[in-house]
């Protein structure tokens, strides 16, 4: 029974939403709409669950004085402060201040650091030697310099870059997307036919 009930719920909900997508029926529309509302609520609850888990993990680390517990203190303080401000005064400038002057610069800085990591990876990976590496080197340089030309001979690179994007890159990405789409369909069917139970 413990395995059958969740599987039944998943089957009924998935089939209802899928049929609602293809068929025009008022009953199905209403059922699909309420199931989607429930999914939206569950998504929000999952976010809340993630927050609670974060607080519990870091609280345990502080209590046991594990390695890196000082960082956990900062994390907890920042999370609780923004949570309290967001709950009490989310429409006031205080919450906007939290976002604009704390979260935004921190996340933007973390994203900017990726530029250096990507640059090092490119220097390491784009090596002349084997056929694949040489091809990657040539195409990478053409796309990199052709995307931001300043005139002169670099405009010729831009034309080559446009051809690369329009023909081989398009073909390859199309193939990737088809594969992803088939995989998504296969996974959905497996869940609907009880062959996979990711909720267990």
């Amino acid at each position: 029974m413990r395995r059958v009930v969740p599987a039944l719920i998943a089957l009924v909900a998935g089939a209802a939403v899928l049929l609602d997508f293809f068929l025009e029926n008022p009953l199905l529309d209403a059922l699909g709409a309420s199931l989607l509302d429930g999914a939206v609520i569950l998504g929000a609850c999952a976010l809340l669950l993630g927050l609670v888990n974060l607080l519990v993990v870091h609280e345990r680390r502080i209590r046991r004085r594990e390695r890196g517990w000082g960082t956990s203190v900062v994390i907890l303080a920042a999370a609780l402060a923004s949570l309290i401000v967001g709950l009490v005064a989310w429409q006031t400038p205080a919450f906007a201040w939290f976002y604009r002057y704390l979260l935004f610069p921190l996340e933007a800085s973390a994203g900017a650091l990726l530029a250096f990591a990507v640059a090092q990876a490119a220097v390491h990976a784009w090596r002349f030697g084997r056929l694949e590496g040489s091809l990657l080197l040539v195409v990478g340089l053409v796309v990199l310099l052709g995307s931001l030309p300043v005139g002169g001979w670099l405009n010729g690179l831009a034309a080559v870059r446009d051809w690369l994007v329009a023909v081989p890159v398009l073909a390859a990405v199309r193939g990737l997307l088809l594969g992803v789409a088939l995989g998504v369909v296969a996974t959905g069917l497996r869940v609907l036919l009880w062959m996979d139970r990711p909720y267990e």
């Binding site: 939403v17 997508f21 529309d29 699909g32 709409a33 989607l36 509302d37 999914a39 939206v40 609520i41 569950l42 998504g43 929000a44 999952a46 976010l47 429409q91 906007a96 976002y99 604009r100 979260l103 935004f104 610069p105 921190l106 996340e107 933007a108 973390a110 994203g111 900017a112 530029a115 250096f116 640059a119 090092q120 490119a122 220097v123 390491h124 784009w126 090596r127 002349f128 030697g129 080197l137 990478g140 340089l141 990199l144 310099l145 995307s147 931001l148 030309p149 300043v150 005139g151 405009n155 831009a158 994007v165 329009a166 890159v169 398009l170 990405v173 199309r174 997307l177």
Partner: protein, 463 residues
């Protein structure tokens, strides 16, 4: 109780064999210990269990006449008397060897010669006087292990012994073990890495602080950008358009200019903008973009021309819910908290699939694909997209198939978009920094390859 001389197990009185190891307990002419009852093999000088001197005990029994035990009025006196009668305490007697007694006798004789007393008077039968302090320290007397009869080895012990014999019999390997060569270092070394990072940092900072004319060239306008501009220009004024801010602050540098460029054109054309986000961090970014655009368009009003509906949780479910009914999926105004149905910008709006256009500014292709799958493909809703520069190429199949009307990718795309919209070519400072950074990276890649090539030529020359 009879104590086994082999393993020390206590056996019942009268047992002939030990219950634990099977050793024969009753032996002919065995010496029973008068104190603990252990049967000792013939010829044993001290009991194997308690250490009592068996010969001395025998002598004591034989030589000492039976003396009545002194009446001990207190338990301490009785125990002292018992000690004297029984001779050396077990722990002391066990530590003594034959030679020790001889040494002790000699030492006492020396003492007596000094004090004038006969040494024999100091020694009681049994060899111990409570008043006498042994000359040699107890700790100096070697401990004598009990004699122990050999036991047959257990099967496990035999196995271990055979294994040891096998290993010990193997010949020693004369050749040393091959140590594998250390693997070559993966990635750049610390020095080149620092140089690359410093060069990249300068390349990104210098054009922002000091404009460099050669870099301030407007980028070429891709066809995808022209199509995006055309899709918005074709809309009549006053119709609602949904704009999804599906990205976070990490990509705001790349996508906020794109979102603002879209908003500028939409509000400038008098269209109603419904801002929404399926990412938690997207709603405040939408607020920031709306504030900047409204500052440039004083005729537009929040609530009439544009409304921020905030975050809708659920990823695909959120997009599907918005596609079916926008006010139901996003019931509140993010900025004011009022019901979204009170906003004039939302008048007459049902499902997102009924809108004439949806603008999706997404952090990556999967975030964009949700909108394509839930709105553009099933309902044919026109869709234009904004993506980071790295993901712009991946959206080309959707544009080629008609599911996307236009794509604006990154800062360069936003600059081109604004150029098309305003009719003036312009290049923001960020674009100049991107250009210089791209050249520095390309130069680093070429330099690394030339260095590797030089190393290879050197190796071949040496070989």
């Amino acid at each position: 109780m009879i104590f086994c001389p082999g393993c020390g197990t206590a056996n019942r009185e009268g047992s002939r064999f030990c219950n634990e190891c099977g050793m024969r307990l009753v032996q002919e002419a065995s010496l029973p210990c008068p104190r603990c009852g252990t049967l000792n093999p013939p010829g044993t000088a001290h009991c194997q269990k308690c250490g009592l001197g068996l010969a001395r005990a025998g002598d004591q029994e034989a030589a000492q006449p039976a003396q009545p035990a002194p009446a001990a009025s207190q338990p301490e006196e009785a125990s002292d008397a018992a000690l004297r009668d029984e001779g050396l305490p077990p722990w002391l007697d066990a530590a003594e060897s034959a030679g020790d007694e001889e040494l002790r006798r000699e030492a006492l004789e020396d003492l007596a010669s000094l004090e004038g007393e006969a040494p024999v008077d100091r020694l009681r039968t049994g060899g111990w006087s409570p008043e006498a302090i042994p000359i040699e320290p107890i700790v100096g007397v070697p401990y004598r292990a009990y004699e122990r009869l050999p036991l047959p080895p257990t099967p496990e012990q035999e196995q271990a012994a055979q294994l040891f014999a096998t290993v010990a019999a193997q010949a020693v390997q004369a050749e040393p073990r091959q140590v594998p060569e250390p693997k070559p270092q993966v990635g750049l070394g610390a020095g080149p890495r620092r140089v690359l990072n410093l060069a990249l940092l300068l390349a990104l900072l210098v054009p922002i602080l000091w404009p460099l004319a050669p870099l301030q060239v407007a980028p070429p306008v891709p066809a995808a950008v022209v199509d995006a501009v055309g899709a918005i220009d074709a809309l009549p004024p006053g119709v609602p358009v949904l704009v999804a801010f599906d990205y976070g602050p990490a990509l705001a540098g790349d996508l906020q200019p794109v979102a603002e460029a879209y908003l500028q054109q939409l509000i400038g054309h008098g269209l109603r903008v419904l801002a929404v986000s399926t990412q938690p961090e997207g709603a405040p970014l939408a607020d920031m973009a709306i504030d900047r655009v409204l500052a440039a368009h004083p005729e537009a009003r929040y609530g009439q021309s544009v409304v921020n509906l905030g975050y809708v949780a659920g990823d695909e479910a959120a997009v599907r819910a918005l596609s079916m009914n926008v006010p139901s999926a996003a019931p509140a105004d993010y900025r004011t908290g009022a019901p979204s149905t009170t906003a004039r910008a939302l008048e007459g709006v049902g499902g997102a699939h009924e809108l004439p256009l949806i603008v999706v500014v997404a952090r990556d292709l999967p975030a964009l694909r949700r909108w394509i799958e839930q709105t553009a493909t099933p309902y044919g809703t026109p869709l234009v997209a904004g993506l980071p520069a790295a993901a712009g190429l991946a959206a080309e199949p959707y544009r080629a198939s008609g599911q996307l009307r236009g794509v604006v990718a990154g800062v360069a795309g936003a600059a081109a978009y604004q150029g098309v919209q305003s009719g003036r070519s312009q290049a923001p400072r960020g674009l100049a920094a991107l250009r210089l950074g791209a050249w520095v990276l390309a130069a680093a890649v070429v330099a690394a390859n030339l260095w590797a090539l030089a190393g290879w030529v050197r190796k071949r020359g040496a070989a």
